[in-house]
Symmetry: C2
Subunit: 217 residues, 2 copies
């Protein structure tokens, strides 16, 4: 059965998944890039974006795992780009260039209709106006036997957690403090929603936590 | 110069330093004991409370460090005990028995006067009604050349952080979720107060973070 998974999502020691004042120059908000520094030297990341000669180890294992058996993605609109409100034109096609690192269908949550965009390398961006459950329905169908990865951002993950729709979440606690921004867990009682820590593994540059939901209904 | 240090203070992945519904049976609140499981097998803890045959390694190093060069402690009243309001009598002498693990003067924050209590092994509990700055003044004088350790709990640490009076804080992120209780960093902007992550080290049972304040004034 297809699962909904969050992977390699970075949070600060003080619990923020993105900094404040996000814009086109700072898509992760002020200080937000520091959340992801643990990932950049890994071999799995360098194979996607660099020369392929990165480091192996725990941090790399978690990046590699994040791409395994994924048949579709779901992204919040703010993770797809900085455009807000109705789409002014078809110019914006994501942060990732002509060949995005997804290579499967990607369902973007939005309140504004837009035609799908076929990118190079197998990525197709679909724009879904049916809410988080509608997007999950479409993504699960597209993923077939494989799982659906929930990419973020913070607000989107929080919605799916509250609806008890996420099966597994891997968070990397980065050794940085943001002080303000989007807090991942504020006002969310994870144990009351059925979530527990299932794994904790220390990497060289981040602490990795896997949280799973035990089906209770 | 004497510094104010927090050590071996455990928080959950979702940021709580104590669970909800604290009482005499659950001094750390519901689920709160899970925060400290990383510490119990360490040799330094077992030397204090067990048979001395505990484990060495990163987790143990941090427990050992927490006792180094400490000349006095500060505790919030709720950490000293479950009694609230005026002291009904002199019966309650802390959670720790006749010979508490401090062995130096301990300054307990309270709004209600009480005479000092001399315990076995060098621990003397002093009850301070002069607020957090008054307690720090007395503890610093008592500590001499050594540092003052701020033991907690959460509300007390938050007060000292906001007053920018803590110099160094070691937190152990325990692989557990509490969902509710006392949140350590909520509404506190650590970088704005001058705090930064100075160290991060992975132990077998917890992720260790050291936060320091750079004096800016």
């Amino acid at each position: 059965m297809s699962r909904l998974r969050v992977h390699a999502f970075s949070i600060s020691v003080d619990g923020y998944g993105a900094g404040s004042r996000q814009n086109r120059e700072n898509p992760l908000g002020v200080g937000g890039m520091g959340l992801h520094e643990w990932m950049l030297p890994t071999r799995s990341f360098q194979r996607l974006y660099g020369d392929g000669a990165g480091e192996t180890g725990v941090d790399d294992d978690f990046v590699a795992r994040s791409f395994e058996n994924i048949g579709a993605w779901i992204l919040g609109r703010n993770m797809f780009g900085p455009v807000r409100g109705p789409w002014p034109d078809d110019h914006w096609k994501g942060w990732w260039g002509a060949n995005p690192p997804y290579h499967v269908p990607v369902f973007v949550l939005t309140h504004h209709l837009r035609s799908p965009i076929v990118m190079e390398g197998g990525t197709v961006f679909h724009f879904v106006t049916g809410g988080i459950e509608g997007a999950l329905h479409l993504a699960t169908a597209a993923a077939g036997d494989r799982d659906v990865r929930l990419g973020g951002g913070v607000a989107t993950i929080r919605q799916y957690i509250r609806a008890q729709l996420v099966d597994e979440m891997h968070f990397a606690i980065a050794p940085t403090l943001l002080g303000s921004g989007e807090h991942l867990f504020a006002e969310i009682d994870l144990p009351a929603l059925g979530y527990q820590c299932a794994e904790h593994v220390a990497g060289a540059r981040a602490a990795h936590i896997v949280i799973r939901r035990e089906a209770t209904d």
